[in-house]
């Protein structure tokens, strides 16, 4: 694994970035490797080796019993022609809309309104109470949220009763059972789950913006929209990057809510790669194929993360005029 190689290669050298103040520095820095040792061993055992194992298994056919049979890239070729695999990735795009795009945009709007209008024109406590209401779903184990929503959206659940009671009984529907509405319903639940995170992060970010910026803008007659575009958005761009990145990774990995709400059904209408991999591993006992799905998902996540971090790095450099 890479860590241990780096450890071995780096031991005799000193730090290149900071010129060592004296020869003593060399030996002193090397001793710090000892502190990395427990973490590195655990890392290799629990993350490195299993990851390599999954990549290896993706090149085999295996039911989990006996010895895996080497099949080369067969699993990947099969994936290319697997309609369920493509459906699961199309649904991932829907998850990104529901867990990244909508919450980030709504979160920017809500955080700005809560901070700039409600926090300043009313009492800050009002803003804090409203923020807590939006954040509450983030506190729950996501499976618990999934189970409650699963019941609400059942044919005889609370949502249909609510429609009845306001005279919209004609809209009664098996929201999670109909392939046409299952995905939008899951997306709505995910927006509900996710929205509090950007609101809280963006509101915290706004606290570090100099209030005089807002006051000066107001003196100049800038309305809320002007202030939002000229001050709020540029000032909290670092946080927007972090929220977009962490939410995108979470959307690519989403498992618990799908498990609790639909188990990927009906007819794979809400299947996502991580549930598809879980199902292939533990229900169909096709370990090689499941590993191939996981490997592809891992690659996509790594590429997305590297792209995001690269973008952030470039935009920071641009800001500093380098």
């Amino acid at each position: 694994m890479a860590v241990s190689e780096t450890v071995a290669a780096a031991r005799p050298a000193d730090t290149p970035t900071q010129p060592p103040p004296g020869k003593k520095r060399r030996g002193r820095n090397a001793a710090y490797w000892l502190y990395l040792l427990p973490g590195a061993v655990l890392f290799v055992l629990v993350i490195g080796a299993p990851l390599v194992g999954t990549v290896y298994l993706s090149l085999t056919k295996w039911s989990g019993i006996g010895d895996p049979t080497w099949v080369g890239l067969d699993n990947y070729q099969q994936l290319l022609h697997d309609e369920v695999f493509w459906a699961s990735f199309r649904n991932t795009v829907a998850m990104i809309v529901a867990m990244v795009v909508v919450p980030t945009l709504l979160g920017l709007l809500l955080a700005s309104v809560l901070f700039d209008i409600i926090g300043r024109r009313f009492r800050p406590r009002t803003a804090a109470a409203l923020r807590a209401a939006f954040y509450l779903p983030q506190v729950l184990p996501v499976v618990v949220a999934g189970i409650v929503w699963g019941w609400i959206l059942r044919p005889d659940g609370a949502f249909n009763s609510l429609l009845d009671s306001v005279g919209l009984g004609a809209l009664r529907h098996d929201w999670l059972g109909d392939p046409g509405t299952a995905l939008p319903a899951v997306m709505a639940v995910m927006i509900w789950v996710q929205i509090g995170y950007p609101v809280v992060v963006f509101m915290a970010a706004l606290q570090r913006v100099d209030p005089e910026l807002y006051e000066a803008a107001e003196v100049d007659g800038a309305n809320w929209l002007h202030r939002f575009r000229a001050i709020t958005l540029p000032q909290i761009r670092p946080e927007t990057f972090v929220v977009a990145l962490t939410c995108t990774i979470a959307a690519l990995k989403v498992f618990g809510p799908i498990f609790a709400l639909t188990r990927g059904g009906p007819e794979n209408a809400t299947n996502v790669p991580s549930y598809f991999a879980y199902y292939t591993f533990f229900k169909k006992l096709q370990v090689g194929y499941g590993s191939a799905i996981s490997t592809v998902l891992t690659l996509i996540i790594v590429v997305v993360a590297v792209l995001f971090i690269g973008m952030q790095y470039r935009s920071e450099r641009r800001d500093r005029g380098i």
Binding site: F43, I47, A133, P141, I147, P211, E239, K253
Partner: protein, 297 residues
């Protein structure tokens, strides 16, 4: 959910009343905005209201009145059924044991890793930190089968210890990334003064670095606890019986069971989220102080 956190020592921004009144929001406008946002907040709370309303209904009450009716009696048998069926105190203990151990061990491993990376500035540290950051982003599906297989071979399958070890490493990957960047800005003069006084690395870590980082470590501890508490896939795969399961896994494995009529489902969900809401209330201050995203340079 990963959050980048740095303790914020500044006082929250002043919300002093501005002398200049924005004419766009002086009158009815601001009330309209308040009404809209409040409406949004109420919509967020509706599912909780549904759950509370139905957790205390008897099955016959539910089948007569439906999900929206007011309960005719304060019925707690559903709660008690769920409590005893899943042996809830044991699940509570399992969740607490796992999340608590992971929080403490994860912070300890993060601290040691970050000491070498952020203060020791060992060679190649940027790559190592990057590796930890990526590891935190990996889908758990990419690790689960080998972990499951090996756990079965070595007899750790269906033990809380397996889940504790796995999450200690997964959480400390994030903790290492965070603490390494915090320690990167640790005042060198403090370290050098301690070294001049003859303190070794181990002493400096516990006498100088640890006390200074305590607020950040506390936030990290709470996050690790809550994240681990809410984890699902790995406990679902690793913990298969009543003796070892955690609260979310216990609730999910009863889903669709004959025993779980609508009021019992709601009662189970209600019991399961009470601890989470308690943590939220207890730790709210620490967390509000602690969550500011990626602003550290």
């Amino acid at each position: 959910m990963a959050v980048t956190l740095t303790p914020v020592d500044r006082a929250p921004a002043t919300s002093r009343a501005t002398p200049v009144r924005d004419r766009h929001h002086r009158g009815a406008g601001r009330w309209l905005v308040l009404a809209l946002v409040t409406l949004g907040a109420l919509v967020m709370l509706v599912p909780f209201a549904f759950m509370l309303l139905n957790a205390f209904k008897s099955p016959s009450d539910y089948s007569n009145g439906g999900p929206l009716s007011w309960p005719t009696e304060f019925y707690t048998t559903g709660l008690r059924t769920y409590w005893t069926t899943v042996n809830f105190p044991l699940k509570l203990w399992n969740s607490t044991l796992i999340a608590g151990s992971v929080a403490v061990l994860g912070v300890a491993v993060s601290l040691l890793n970050a000491y070498a990376l952020g203060i020791g500035r060992v060679r190649g540290r940027l790559w190592i930190v990057g590796l930890f950051l990526l590891a935190n982003m990996l889908p758990q599906e990419a690790l689960i089968y080998p972990l499951y297989y090996v756990a079965k071979q070595v007899g750790l399958y269906n033990t809380q210890l397996s889940v504790i070890i796995i999450f200690t490493v997964i959480q400390s990957a994030f903790g290492t990334y965070l603490l390494a960047s915090v320690m990167g800005t640790f005042p060198r003069s403090l370290l050098e003064a301690a070294a001049l006084d003859g303190a070794g690395k181990w002493t400096i870590l516990w006498r100088v670095v640890f006390p200074n980082l305590r607020p950040t470590l506390a936030v990290l501890l709470i996050f690790f606890f809550i994240w681990t508490w809410n984890e699902f896939l790995i406990p679902l795969v690793m913990l298969i019986d009543n003796q070892t399961q955690t609260i979310p896994v216990a609730l999910a494995s009863l889903q669709g069971d004959r025993l779980m009529d609508a009021p019992t489902t709601n009662a189970g969900a209600l019991i399961s989220l009470v601890p989470a809401i308690l943590f939220f209330l207890i730790f709210q201050r620490t967390l509000a102080r602690g969550i500011t995203a990626g602003a550290e340079k």
